[in-house]
Amino acid sequence: MTSGAVDRETGLALYRQMLRIRRFEERCVELYSAASIRGFLHLYIGEEAVAVGTMRQLRADDAVLATYREHGHALARGVPMPAVMAEMFGRVEGCSRGRGGSMHLFHAPTRFFGGQAIVAAGLPQAVGLALANRMLGRDGIVACFFGEGAVAEGEFHESMNLAALWHLPVLFLCENNRYAMGTALDRSESETNLPIKAASYEMPAWSMDGMDVLAVADAARLAVDTVRAHGGPVFLEARTYRFRAHSMYDPDRYRDKEEVERARLRDPLVVLSRRLLDDGLVTDADLASADRDAVAEVDAAVAFAEAGGDEPEADLLRFVHSERSPS
């Protein structure tokens, strides 16, 4: 599978972005074992190309919604890594002040609306954010990431219908990693062709190779341009695969080790680095330098989180209600 043209600068930027997410999450696994991070930890390892290739096509005034597997989306969107790591530690310096944790990363400055741990719940909210853009005369769009498990929920269908009926600027980006927790798509859906479902709501819908970040970037650019140009929704399916178990609690009994090993052959970092090396755009030294930078950034984020403070228990009840009126 080949994808379109790429230059050195873009290729290297995409590689560095995926790598920093990979190194961040690998460190999270270690910190989880060391009990610095608790709760659920859903890893994006293997799926990095989807968030990285898509997020590059968005503008600062666009809004982003994601799921509980959203470390990669937050980092690719520009949420500072120290604030994300501090959130994993439950620190007050975390991007949600330690109130959200791994599954509820939020960041108003980058219009990152979370961090939703109810499958499909973000879709109606994406519709509403897009409606606000329309009614307030703003031209930003809304990118809503969700897994293929969400298509079984009623809210998926309700949101597809509303967005198309009201012609709202939403990019519905379905990350099909083939398993809803442990249930394979063909064991939960009578129709496994996901774009067909979306197309039935009268919106453009297609699939892309989610393991090739260049393919993702091309498809996402077309999708985002379509949403911007026509104002209505687009559905894009990324065919991807998660290399790790669903969460740290998951013994991963429902899929063959061979299947996982086969998928790893198309690791998005390997797919891209091979392409860039083959095209003579980067050297091994460039890749090694990117790795050193990623590790250094993660080291700094961990140091920041470790040095962070705890929200005082006296503030337990803060943020149940707003402390000041929004204008």
Partner: protein, 328 residues
């Protein structure tokens, strides 16, 4: 106070919506049949013609979808009023209201607010049986992050919407279905204090604590009791979260007896919370145990006599009040 005119509860709601939409372009109404149909209870009749389809927005039958869209629209800078036909249907949107609207401000560390108003009918009395008649106010009043209102008069119907829209956090507003055709005085520009309960009728011997569709029953019971020489004070909670305990406990400190009247089912009802709080904080003020008059533990039946038998009645309130007065 502005000039008072007598209007129906329905007209008061419509005037409040209209006034809010004229005052702020960010306010809009959406829900099932709010536009062409005029609202399933006629509340929004005529508003589509005045404000157009963008702002009086008919939705498909997808409660979770359009309530969730209301949350997104509120986070995006609008001031949505979302109408859900009945609280029974609102259960389809409970996830959005509880897991997102009520929680997102907290779980985002205060970064995102949801200035959303959700209106819905509740309550029985029209022989609509077990899927259109229930009172789940307590389900919503249980949830931190929500404010829950229950206007029982035309004046409250008129005056609660503006402060609800001004609240930076989600507000759920219950309109008891038996109230739409009732009338009362209501003036423009009389906002209700949505932190406070109100004493609807002063009295000395027993406090009747109630809200919503049961207020009229409590007031009627107070009239009957008065004829028997018992002076009942009627407290209309009207704000079901946060409950104004100062007013409730202040009344009990004066009368030393309390009957809580609530159309919810008896077990784990709002009345249960009110009773527990009185027992915890006003135990030594009491001359008699607190009594509750609630709905019988049965899905609301269709047949008129059975429905009536299930619900709190004036007679049951009088009986309970006489019982606590007699025992003290």
């Amino acid at each position: 106070m502005t000039e008072q005119v007598t209007v129906t509860y329905r007209e008061a709601l419509r005037a409040a919506i209209r006034e809010a939409m004229l005052a702020d372009d960010r306010v809009f109404l959406m829900g099932e049949d709010v536009g062409r149909y005029g609202g399933s209870f006629g509340v929004s009749l005529g508003l589509l013609e005045e404000f157009g389809e963008e702002r009086i927005r008919d939705t498909p039958l997808s409660e979770s979808g359009f309530v969730g869209a209301g949350i997104g629209a509120a986070m995006g800078g609008l001031r949505p009023i979302v109408e859900v036909m009945t609280v029974n249907f609102a259960l389809l949107a409970l996830d959005q209201l509880v897991n997102t609207a009520a929680a997102i401000h907290h779980m985002s560390g205060g970064q995102f607010s949801v200035p959303l108003v959700v209106r819905m009918t509740s309550g029985a009395g029209r022989q609509l049986a077990a899927q259109h008649s229930h009172s789940f106010e307590n389900w919503f009043a249980h949830v931190p992050g929500l404010r829950v209102l229950s206007p029982a008069t035309a004046a409250d119907a008129r005056g609660m919407l503006a402060p609800a829209l001004a609240d930076p956090d989600p507000v759920v507003l219950f309109e008891h279905a038996s109230l739409y055709n009732t009338s009362g005085p209501a003036g423009a520009g009389d906002p209700v204090d949505i932190d406070r309960a109100v004493v609807r009728r002063p009295g000395q011997d027993v406090t009747l604590v109630t809200y919503g569709g049961c207020l009229a029953k409590a007031v009627a019971a107070a009239e009957v009791l008065s004829a028997d020489g018992v002076s009942a004070e009627v407290v209309d909670l009207r704000v079901l979260r946060p409950i104004d305990w100062e007013t409730v406990l202040g009344s009990v400190a004066k009368t030393h007896r309390a009957v809580v009247v609530d159309e919810g089912w008896h077990t784990l009802s709002l009345a249960a919370e009110v009773s527990a709080r009185i027992a915890e904080e006003a135990f030594y003020d009491l001359d008699a145990p607190v009594r509750r008059v609630c709905t019988a533990e049965v899905p609301i039946p269709y047949a008129r006599h059975l429905e009536r038998a299930a619900l709190p009645s004036v007679e049951r309130v009088v009986e309970a009040a006489e019982d606590v007065v007699g025992s003290g």
